[in-house]
């Protein structure tokens, strides 16, 4: 199973296993990683699973397409950066084994 590392805003890392086909958001929720609220359960409706993708991984995860639902939701999420993604919109693949994402200070 691919491993994903979440780094809390305070620097605390959490490395978890997650099955291929689930989302990066689910990897956090299933392992009780703090800092991912996921209010809407993965519907891309709330922007509370916001993460920053580590620079080394941005090519593999990609960025939200301009004009997409994810891009709209991110437009006013808390403290967005060029490497911002909604983790519910990143499907886990073997190619993402080792992915590192960082959490913003808050989700609201």
């Amino acid at each position: 199973m691919p491993k994903i590392t979440f780094i809390e805003h305070n620097g605390t890392p959490h490395t978890v296993d997650i099955a291929v086909g689930k989302s990066v958001m689910q990897a956090a929720v299933e392992n009780n990683v703090p800092g991912i609220d996921a209010d809407c359960g993965g519907e891309c409706a709330c922007a509370t699973c916001h993460v920053y993708v580590d620079a080394a991984w941005i090519e593999k995860t990609g960025l939200p397409a301009p004009g997409s639902q994810e891009a709209s939701m991110l437009s006013f999420a808390a403290v967005t950066q060029p490497d911002s993604r909604l983790s519910c919109q990143i499907p886990v693949t073997e190619a993402l084994d080792g992915l590192v994402v960082r959490m913003p200070e808050g989700q609201h």
């Binding site: 929720v29 299933e30 009780n32 703090p34 609220d37 209010d39 809407c40 359960g41 519907e43 409706a45 709330c46 922007a47 639902q69 709209s72 939701m73 437009s75 006013f76 999420a77 808050g106 609201h108």
Partner: protein
């Protein structure tokens, strides 16, 4: 003298109860947590029951809030098929429906709400349904076959979402609403009209100003809804969706202050300092609206109050206050609402209602934005949330001008 305990008992294993258990572990609560749920399932998400789950786009496993192994790994004791039947606040003790008792250091009431039942003739006929639990949704899914006729009593979110899902499954749907418009309690007239038109364009029949006199049966199952004006709406199943009632009886019997919901403060604490309450069963203050109190039946509210309670219990700073928000998916429409238009005096349309992509901004007399209702307009929803949080005052002309971007409106 109460027997001392270092255990947290959570009464109710819905979205609120399941979330607060997980958050307590996140915030470092080390000793016992017991999560008590009346349903046979561990905590699951209810919103998809009228949407993606009903139409078959989401499976049962995807409903679970956490994988089953989580509760074991996190040392959270799950007591399912059981409810708390009595609280003795002085003894810090609860009694369960199976006769057991347990002492607590803190008790969290997450008892939720139940579907409002109307005392109609025929209400006990087979295929007269409500939609609250996974078991309810199973029954509804079973009857929603192509060509089946669903009568929906109540034009609220549950009713509209169920009607949309029925159409997606090839069933017929009639919505019967007592008020002159659907969503009368929860949305403005412009939005009601938009949703009525859209549902009708999708083949749903909508009866407004329509009281129900009785449910009529054949062979023990419902066969039609008799309206107050005498007409019969024939159906194979009737879904009653006329609002929710807070499950506050347990709290009332224990002497905890309630007023159409268990009264809590911004730490989700009840009138008993050792007892918290979260989610649909509460009436809570809204700090961004002069601390008016309200019952908010929504997942975001359940999660916010779960955070408040867990933070207070673990001695952490309180979470940042959130603006209430709600969402609904019907057909390919995504409705997102942020804020509550308590004192709004003006509604400004931004976007194109006919094209199904617009937002309604509700302004108070001083131009402060109080709420935004957005249909397929997530940028307006997210920008609206920021505008409300920052108490921005805007003019109607600027909001309606699509040449002014949301970034500019929110800056």
């Amino acid at each position: 003298m109460a027997e001392t305990s270092d255990r947290i008992v959570i009464a109710g294993a819905g979205h609120a109860g399941g979330s607060v258990a997980a958050m307590l572990r996140q915030l470092g609560w080390k000793t016992g947590i017991t999560l008590v749920g009346e349903e046979p399932l561990p905590p699951y998400q209810r919103p998809p029951l009228s949407k993606a789950w009903l139409t078959g786009e989401a499976d049962a496993e995807s409903l679970a809030l956490r994988p089953l192994g989580f509760y074991n790994d996190a040392d959270i004791e799950l007591k399912l098929g059981v409810r708390v039947t009595k609280i003795e606040p002085r003894e810090h003790r609860v009694t369960f429906s199976d006769g057991d008792t347990m002492h607590y250091a803190h008790l969290i009431l997450a008892t939720g709400s139940r579907a409002r039942r109307i005392p109609l003739p025929g209400i006990d006929l087979a295929n007269v349904l409500e939609l609250r639990t996974a078991a309810d949704a199973d029954k509804l899914k079973h009857v929603l076959k192509p060509g089946a006729r669903l009568a929906v009593v109540g034009g609220g979110y549950i009713g509209l979402e169920a009607a949309a899902s029925a159409r997606a499954l090839g069933a017929e749907a009639t919505i019967i609403e007592l008020a002159p418009r659907v969503l009368a309690r929860v949305a403005c007239e412009i939005l009601s009209n938009f949703f009525q038109d859209f549902h009708r364009s999708q083949g749903v029949t909508i009866e407004l100003n329509a009281g129900v006199a009785a449910l009529e049966g054949a062979g023990g199952a419902v066969a039609g809804v008799r309206l107050a004006d005498g007409r019969l709406i024939p159906c194979d199943a009737a879904l009653i969706g006329v609002g929710g009632v807070p499950n506050e009886e347990l709290a009332l019997e224990a002497g905890i202050a309630c007023d159409g919901g268990i009264l809590v403060d911004l730490a989700a604490r009840t009138s008993d300092p050792a007892i918290f309450a979260i989610g649909d069963c509460t009436r809570r203050p809204l700090p961004l609206y002069n601390n008016r109190t309200m019952r908010l039946e929504s997942v975001p509210n359940a999660l916010e109050q779960a955070k408040q309670a867990a933070s207070a219990i673990c001695g952490r700073p309180p979470p940042v206050p959130e603006i209430p928000w709600f969402w609904s998916d019907q057909y390919d429409l995504r409705l997102q609402i942020v804020g509550i238009p308590f004192d709004a005096t003006e509604i400004v349309v931004r976007g194109d209602i006919a094209a199904g992509k617009f937002a309604l901004f509700h302004l108070a007399a001083d131009g402060t934005v109080q709420a935004v209702e957005a249909v397929n307009a997530s940028t307006e929803f997210m920008g609206g949330r920021r505008i409300i949080q920052r108490r921005r005052q805007l003019t109607a002309a600027r909001i309606a001008d699509m040449n002014v971007t949301m970034q500019e409106l929110a800056s």
